[in-house]
C-alpha cells in the first residue's frame, strides 16, 4: 500500500494510476528496478514506459528472446579463451559468463554475474545481452543485483551478538559479551530480563602485514653439524609410507565466509509499531552529519526516510568517486526527489508485556584506513506500552578499534565506564539511571580510531 502511495504522491508532475502500473507487466518490472535504484530519472522513464534503463521498451523482449550477435561473439571468444588459458577462464575482463543463455520474457533467467573489473556499470546495472550497461529489470531477471563476493576477514564488525550468546547473571552483570558484541539488556515490570543485540555494522578496513625472512649464503655459514655421537645408531624399523595417502593438497585461505552488508535499518524495519515513538526532546546537537536522519533524530522510520537515505547514498557515491561524472541541469543536481506528504493510516496496537526495546547502531563510514576516526551512534527506544528499567548497554570493541577517551555522549543520564577487554581494546558500558518510559528512548555516540 505504501509503495502505491509513494508513486501517487510523487505523481504531481507525471500523473499515473496504480491500476495502470499493475496491468502493465513491463511497467511493474520497471517499477521494481526504479525503486531499487531510487533515481528520479529512471522513475520518470518507467512511468512513461517509453524507455526502460535507457533502452527502448520494445527492444527488451526481442533481446531477451534471442541472444544478440554480440553476445554470441563474446561467448565464442570466451570459450576460445577458456581452451587456450583455463586460468583466465573466469572473471576476466570483458567476458560475459556462460550462464547467460537464451530465454523468453515469460520465463525469467538467472542474472549474469557482475565482475568488478569487467565493466563500469552501477550496482543495479549489468551487461545483459549487449555491450552496454542496462538496468537489471531490462534483463528480465528474477533476482536483484548479483551478490559480490566479500571476505569477512577484511571487515571490522561492531554490533550484534556472536556465539556464545550474552547471558545475564544475578548480580546484573553480563557474560558472553565477545569482542564486537553490542547488546542492551533490561528488565520489564513483570520481572523478565531481556537481551537485545544491535545490528552488525561492517566497516571495510583491511590491514596488511608482512612475514619477513632473510636468507642467503652469508647467513647460512653458521650452520652447525653434529658434534659427537654417544652411541651407535642403527635402523630399528623401516615403515613404508604411501605418499598419496599422506599428502594433502594446498589448502584454500581459511576463514572466508560470505557476509552480507545488511544495512543498519533492515533488522529493525519490521515488528514493533513506530507510530508511538515520540521525538527525542533531550537529544544533544548532532555531532556528525549522518545523525541528521530521522531514525537517529526522532526514532521514526518512514518510507520517505528510506527514500531520502537512498538519495543520500546515491549522492554520496557520485560525490566521493573522483573519476565519476556528475550531471547538473542549470546548476542543480539531476537527482532530485520530491518530498512526499501523504496521509498515513493510524493503527493502535495492544502489546503484551514483552521485550520491546528497539536498538540499532550506525557508523559514520563504511570504509576506512588505519588512522581514520569513525563515529558510532546507538539509538534505542522503548516501543512498548510499559516502562523498562535497569537498562545497560555494553559495546565490546574490536581489536582494530581504539576508543577515543572522552568522546562518548549520551542523551540520557547514564553511568559510563570503559574497561580493557581481552583483545586489547575496550568494553564500553552505559548504565541508564532512570527507567525508560514508553515511547521514550535515547542516543549514544562515541568515536573510535581505526588501528
Amino acid at each position: 500500500m505504501s509503495r502505491l502511495r509513494l508513486f501517487k504522491s510523487t505523481s504531481d508532475d507525471y500523473p499515473i494510476t496504480s491500476s495502470f502500473i499493475q496491468s502493465n507487466p513491463l511497467c511493474r518490472q520497471a517499477m521494481r528496478s526504479a525503486l531499487a535504484a531510487a533515481l528520479a530519472t529512471k522513475l520518470v522513464a518507467a512511468m512513461g514506459c517509453s524507455t526502460v534503463g535507457g533502452l527502448p521498451a520494445g527492444s527488451l523482449l526481442a533481446r531477451s528472446a534471442q541472444p544478440s550477435q554480440s553476445t554470441a561473439q563474446v561467448q565464442a571468444a570466451q570459450s576460445t579463451a577458456q581452451r587456450s588459458n583455463p586460468a583466465l577462464a573466469s572473471n576476466h575482463a570483458g567476458v560475459v559468463p556462460a550462464s547467460y543463455t537464451s530465454a523468453t520474457h515469460e520465463e525469467p533467467v538467472a542474472c549474469p554475474d557482475v565482475n568488478y573489473y569487467s565493466q563500469n556499470c552501477s550496482d543495479n546495472s549489468v551487461i545483459c545481452g549487449s555491450d552496454s550497461c542496462v538496468d537489471h529489470g531490462a534483463c528480465n531477471c528474477i533476482a536483484g543485483p548479483s551478490e559480490s563476493y566479500r571476505n569477512a576477514q577484511e571487515y571490522i564488525f561492531d554490533g550484534g551478538d556472536q556465539q556464545p550468546l550474552v547471558v545475564i547473571k544475578k548480580d546484573w552483570s553480563a557474560d558472553g559479551v565477545d569482542p564486537t558484541d553490542t547488546v542492551i539488556y533490561y528488565e520489564t515490570l513483570a520481572g523478565s530480563v531481556c537481551v537485545r543485540p544491535t545490528n552488525r555494522v561492517p566497516i571495510y578496513a583491511p590491514r596488511f602485514g608482512a612475514i619477513r625472512q632473510v636468507s642467503g649464503l652469508t647467513l647460512s655459514t653458521h650452520a652447525a653439524g653434529t658434534q659427537r655421537i654417544l652411541a651407535p645408531v642403527r635402523v630399528e624399523r623401516f615403515d613404508e609410507t604411501d605418499p598419496t595417502g599422506t599428502v594433502v593438497l594446498p589448502v584454500a585461505p581459511h576463514g572466508e565466509q560470505q557476509v552480507g552488508l545488511v544495512d543498519a535499518f533492515q533488522e529493525n524495519y519490521a515488528g514493533t509499531p513506530m507510530d508511538q515513538v515520540l521525538p527525542l526532546y533531550r537529544m544533544s546537537e548532532a555531532r556528525v552529519p549522518f545523525e541528521l536522519v530521522d531514525p537517529i533524530r526522532t526514532g521514526k522510520i518512514t518510507i520517505q526516510e528510506v527514500t531520502a537515505v537512498k538519495e543520500f547514498i546515491q549522492n554520496a557515491q557520485t560525490w566521493v568517486i573522483p573519476e565519476a561524472l556528475a550531471v547538473e541541469v542549470l546548476g542543480q543536481p539531476a537527482l532530485q526527489l520530491r518530498d512526499t506528504k501523504a496521509v498515513q493510516d493510524v493503527y493502535v496496537y495492544e502489546l503484551p508485556d514483552k521485550c520491546s526495546m528497539r536498538i540499532f547502531k550506525t557508523a559514520s563510514h563504511t570504509i576506512a584506513n588505519s588512522g581514520d576516526i569513525i563515529s558510532f551512534t546507538i539509538r534505542f527506544d522503548n516501543s512498548s506500552v510499559k516502562p523498562l528499567g535497569n537498562a545497560v548497554i555494553i559495546d565490546n570493541l574490536s581489536p582494530r578499534l581504539d576508543y577515543i577517551e572522552g568522546s562518548q555522549q549520551c542523551s540520557v543520564r547514564v553511568r559510563f565506564s570503559a574497561e580493557p577487554n581481552d583483545v586489547g581494546s575496550m568494553v564500553l558500558r552505559w548504565e541508564i539511571e532512570e527507567p525508560i518510559a514508553p515511547s521514550d528512548g535515547g542516543a549514544i555516540s562515541f568515536d573510535c580510531r581505526v588501528r
Binding site: 575482463a93 573489473y117 596488511f208 625472512q213 642467503g216 647460512s220 581489536p399
Partner: protein
Amino acid sequence: MENMISNEAERTFRRRFISGLRTIGLWKLCLALAVGGPPALLSGRASAQTLAPKNVHYFLDANQAPGAVAGAQVARGARGVGTYQAVSLLGPKDLKIALARDGQFLPPLSTPVTSGMLVAGVYRFKVTNIPFRPGDELYPTVEIIDRIYPPAGREHRFPIPVVLTEEDLRIALDGGLVTRVIYVEDNELADPVSVPPGEQLVHNLPASDNALQVADQLGKPVAILRIGSRIPMQADGDLTDFLYGCPPWVPLITVPDRQTLVEAGQWPDVLAAPATEKPFSETPDQDTPRIPGPD
C-alpha cells in the same frame, strides 16, 4: 515479502519445536542434551577454532621459485585468478621504480607506484636511485597470489602495500635474499596495535620456517616480495624470461588518504565535534539547524 516468508517459517519452526517438546517429554530432552548437548553448545566456538588448518603439510613455501605459489593457485582454480588487483610499491624517499612492458623496462617513476596487477602473475621491477647506494640497481619480484574484495568502485583505494625498506635494500645489495609474504590480517585476530599510515606490521621469521604457512594462519597471503641481487644477463636483450613472461598491468592513480584530502580542502571534515559538558539541549527546529552555517 521475503521477510514475511522467513518470519512465517520461523514461527512454524518454533511451533513445531514446542509441540515436539510436549510430545517427547521434557525428561527425554534433558537426556538428549546431557548426551549430545555440550558438543552442540560448544560448536560455535569449536567451529571458529577449527578454521585454522592443523596437521596440514604445506606443499608450498615462500622459498620456492617465483611463480610456484601462483601456479598452484592457477592449478586449483582459485577465486580471483586472472583479475586485476591494485598493488602499491612503496619505498624510501627519492627511490625510483620502473615497471616492465613488452619485455623492456619503462622509464622509472617515483614511489609510490600504484598499478593493477594480475592475480597469479609474477612481476619483476627495477629499483634505482637507492638513497645510500646511488648507481646500484636491484630487480625484485612481486608475486600476486590472491586478491582482496573491496566494495565495488573502491578497488583502487585499497592497494596491497609492497614496502621496500632501506634495511631490505641494503641486505639485498650485500648478497642476501629478503622474502616478504604480505597478507591481509584477519581482523578478529588482529594485533591491537596502532599502525601509522604508510607503515606495515612486520614479523621476522627464521629462514628455516615457512613464511607462507605463518601468513596463512594470521590472515590471507596475497603477495610475495623477493628482493635479491640477481641482475639480467643482457640489459639490452630480450628480457621476457627474466621478467617471467612480462604479464600485463594497468596503471592506477595513487589515491591520497582521507587526512591528506581534508588538509587540502578536497574532502569535508566530518569528524565529530568533541563531547560537551552539557549534553542536553532543546530539539532544534527549522529556525535553529543542528549544523551551524559557514559563518
